[in-house]
């Protein structure tokens, strides 16, 4: 494992090289500061004709809260107390959920060994009827380096792909075969083997990956290229001309699973909660799903409702209920 000191030096060297490359070429590099230029990028990928693609797409990010939030900027300092959320103290036991199905109850406060751990491994003759075209019905099982019992149809794993349907307008490097609802049998010209050769069996890693036999992917699945991700710079650049770096695995995987485990993960998260009667959604939501209604009108009402809510300062339950009632009356009158 590379230590942090060496890694810093290596990254620093890479930045220097990248800066030199950027200065000595006309390669378009990311406009966003703070991103490493791609030293292997020889030329920008041709841009598709759509004019909208000329605009960088990834400068923005979908904030999970944005659709509901007017408060879009958060300070880092404002969240320092976030770790270790605990449910409120309470002496009351969690009530059992009322099941409308025949599978009641959570009983995870004490785990007991499960008697069976089954994979998707059962086949019945009747279930094969739609798989009788050949390609789906191989009895051979693929064994992963992790020795999973999952039976994988090796044809599908070994590197052939279903291409486009006939008459597709998109250019495909693969032979077309997907348009035929009766799938072609193994070995037909319709299956793309690419550079990888024919399907392989057994404990092989990716067919044709050049790693030969054995299993270089054992252990935690890091693969051979972990730790050298900075060198895994693809020459592919996206439609915005921005170089892309692909990282094989997260740095966190080096840590092993222990730091990711928390004992609360096997405890009942509802044990200290009391049930709260669902008070329903407001009038705007009741308008949400009205097949046949005018979309624009409904959405306008919804927005008005939202904006009026935002302008009020922390309305209480009674105010919410009153607003909801009024909204409903208005809607009923408008129908």
């Amino acid at each position: 494992m590379e230590d942090s000191e060496k890694r810093r030096e290596r990254l620093k060297a890479m930045r220097t090289i990248a800066a030199q490359a950027e200065a000595s070429s006309y390669v378009e590099t990311p406009a966003v500061s703070g991103f490493l230029a791609n030293p292997l990028l020889e030329s920008p990928a041709p841009l598709p004709p759509q004019e909208s693609r000329a605009t960088p797409r990834f400068d923005f990010y979908t904030d999970p809260m944005a659709a509901f939030s007017a408060n879009k900027k958060r300070s880092q300092a404002g969240n320092q107390a976030q770790q270790g959320y605990v449910t409120p103290p309470s002496d009351r036991n969690s009530p059992m959920a009322r099941f409308s199905s025949p599978h009641p109850g959570i009983r995870n406060t004490e785990m007991t060994p499960s008697p069976a751990h089954q994979m998707q491994s059962n086949y019945s003759p009747s279930q094969r009827m739609y798989q009788a075209q050949g390609s789906y019905d191989s009895p051979a099982h693929f064994r992963s380096p992790r020795a999973s019992p999952f039976p994988m149809h090796q044809e599908n794993v070994a590197g052939y792909y279903y291409g486009n349907p006939p008459n597709t307008h998109i250019r495909s490097p693969y032979p077309n075969c997907g348009g035929n609802p009766s799938f072609q049998p193994v070995g037909s010209p319709g299956f793309y083997y690419g550079e990888r050769g024919p399907p392989q069996h057994g404990n092989s890693p990716i067919p044709g990956s050049g790693r030969g036999g054995g299993s270089p992917f054992s252990g935690r699945g890091q693969g051979q290229w972990h730790g050298s991700r900075a060198n895994q710079v693809s020459s592919w650049s996206d439609r915005r001309g921005r170089g892309s770096r692909f990282h094989g695995t997260a740095r966190d995987e080096k840590l092993g699973p222990e730091p990711f485990y928390d004992k609360s993960m096997v405890e009942d998260p509802w044990q200290n909660l009391d049930p709260v009667v669902w008070r329903g959604v407001d009038g705007a939501l009741n308008n949400l799903h009205t097949p046949g209604s005018s979309n624009s009108v409904s959405m306008k009402k919804q927005r008005v409702s939202e904006s009026s809510n935002k302008s009020s300062s922390q309305p209480n339950l009674a105010e919410y209920l009153a607003a909801s009632f009024n909204e409903t009356v208005k809607d009923a009158a408008g129908v």
Binding site: G105, P115, G163, S172, P181
Partner: protein
């Protein structure tokens, strides 16, 4: 049946499975199923990254491709829904649900399956009022607008889920149902997620569509993710009514609460994922009005009686069996030894699983249909939404504190 529930996957399959296996060893248990509540990032190769809406610093191949290629196999059956950071082109291939990789099942844009006798439903994407009543007009390759709108929940899919009458045991949504914080300790929540407070007080935090489904379906369990924190709530549906145990989970990072094990009484194994008869009947009934343009579905246009659909589907499943069609690769997987990925096309092939399912239901394949507005999609989008992409409220720079912390860590490490 012991089920592991995970929040946002963000492509970290390796470490999530390792953590589950660690939990199994530590507690002497065996987990039967993993449920993931979105942001799965089923990225198969470099081209799929084009359909993934994340900023450059998060454009990592991560580990899904290994499971797609067969290099790794998921150690336990895994079911996931989509979130707002997905290889949307791949999920569109599997709109009706299907194996995204061996032993890893995508529930579809909306879907219900059975695992043993446990019935699991889910809704992919996040709610956005602007796009809610539009049809599924997006087609890969996506532009700067459609790459975001493609994962916005549509009324059509919610409407289908609202038709479910038989009890759902577990439901998954990426964003939280609106108002769910009323049923948990939201005061505690805002102590470390201060920026949630306004939305909670104003009842604007969460998905209205999900709240509507919660009211209708009243499942015993509801799991979500999206907001990168753990939050539990206990919902009672009316006085003396059934309860729903809601749990939102974090994303996979050290010392974060991204996993939860629940134990559900069920019939004894073997367990396997199977098609759900009622859901297939709903799919058959509503597929004729599948909205494939900007225009919403005409919900009055379905003339088929549900009972007729049920009977028809029952007959087909009795003949064929309810096991989903087998996984099939449709594009080459990422290969770290091949640095040049320019030869990958923006292909959007028909997935054989989808074709087979539609064939089973005697429905036409519609996912690659070119809508009337397709040719002008890029120009029309801002007009139809009444706003330019800049005005899209979701499109703000990522400054989620979690990401800030991560980037700070990365900076510390790499500089």
């Amino acid at each position: 049946m012991k089920i592991a529930v995970e929040g946002c996957m963000h492509g970290d399959l390796d470490i999530v499975y390792q953590t589950i296996q660690h939990m199994e060893r530590l507690n002497g248990i065996k987990i039967d199923l993993l449920l993931c509540c979105g942001d799965f990032q089923a990225v198969r190769n470099a081209r799929d990254m084009e359909s993934l809406n994340v900023p450059p610093k998060y454009r990592e191949m991560k580990s899904f491709w290994k499971y797609y290629s067969g290099q790794e196999v998921a150690p336990i059956p895994t079911i996931f829904i989509g979130g707002n950071h997905e290889a949307s082109n791949y999920l569109w291939e599997l709109y009706y649900g299907g194996w995204a990789a061996p032993n890893i099942y995508f529930l579809g844009f909306a879907g219900v399956v059975k695992f043993g006798n446990v019935r699991i439903g889910g809704l992919s994407g996040i709610y956005n009022a602007r796009d809610y009543r539009l049809g599924h007009h997006e087609r890969p390759p996506y532009n700067e607008n459609t790459i975001r709108s493609v994962y916005h929940v549509r009324e059509y899919d919610v409407h289908k889920l609202m038709q479910v009458e038989e009890p759902i045991d577990i439901f998954l949504s990426h964003d939280w149902p609106l108002g769910i914080t009323d049923c948990g300790n939201w005061q505690q929540l805002v102590r470390y997620k201060r920026h949630f407070e306004n939305e909670i007080r104003e009842r604007t935090l969460g998905s209205k569509a999900a709240a509507q489904l919660l009211e209708k379906l009243r499942p015993p369990y509801w799991f979500s993710a999206h907001l990168h924190c753990k939050f539990a709530a206990l919902v009672q549906h009316g006085e003396g009514g059934p309860t729903t145990k809601f749990l939102a989970l974090d994303k996979c990072l050290p010392r974060r609460k991204f996993l939860q094990i629940i134990d559900i009484e069920s019939e004894s194994g073997p367990y396997e994922i199977q098609y759900d008869e009622e859901w297939l009947a709903i799919t058959r009934k509503f597929n004729p009005i599948f909205p494939l343009t900007y225009k919403n579905a005409n919900f009055g246009g379905t003339q088929i009686e549900m009972q007729d659909c049920r009977q028809w589907v029952r007959s087909r499943l009795q003949t064929r069996g309810a096991k989903p069609f087998e996984f099939a690769q449709t594009v080459p997987s990422y290969d770290p030894s091949q640095l040049d990925s320019n030869n990958l096309s923006f292909d959007c092939p028909r997935n054989p699983q989808t074709e087979s399912l539609l064939q089973l239901l005697e429905l036409p394949y519609l996912l690659d249909s070119v809508s009337e507005s397709r040719g002008t999609t890029y120009d029309l989008t801002p007009l139809i939404r009444g706003a330019s992409s800049v005005e899209n409220s979701e499109e703000i720079p990522i400054d989620d504190v979690d990401e800030l912390e991560e980037s700070a860590e990365v900076d510390d490490t790499e500089t």
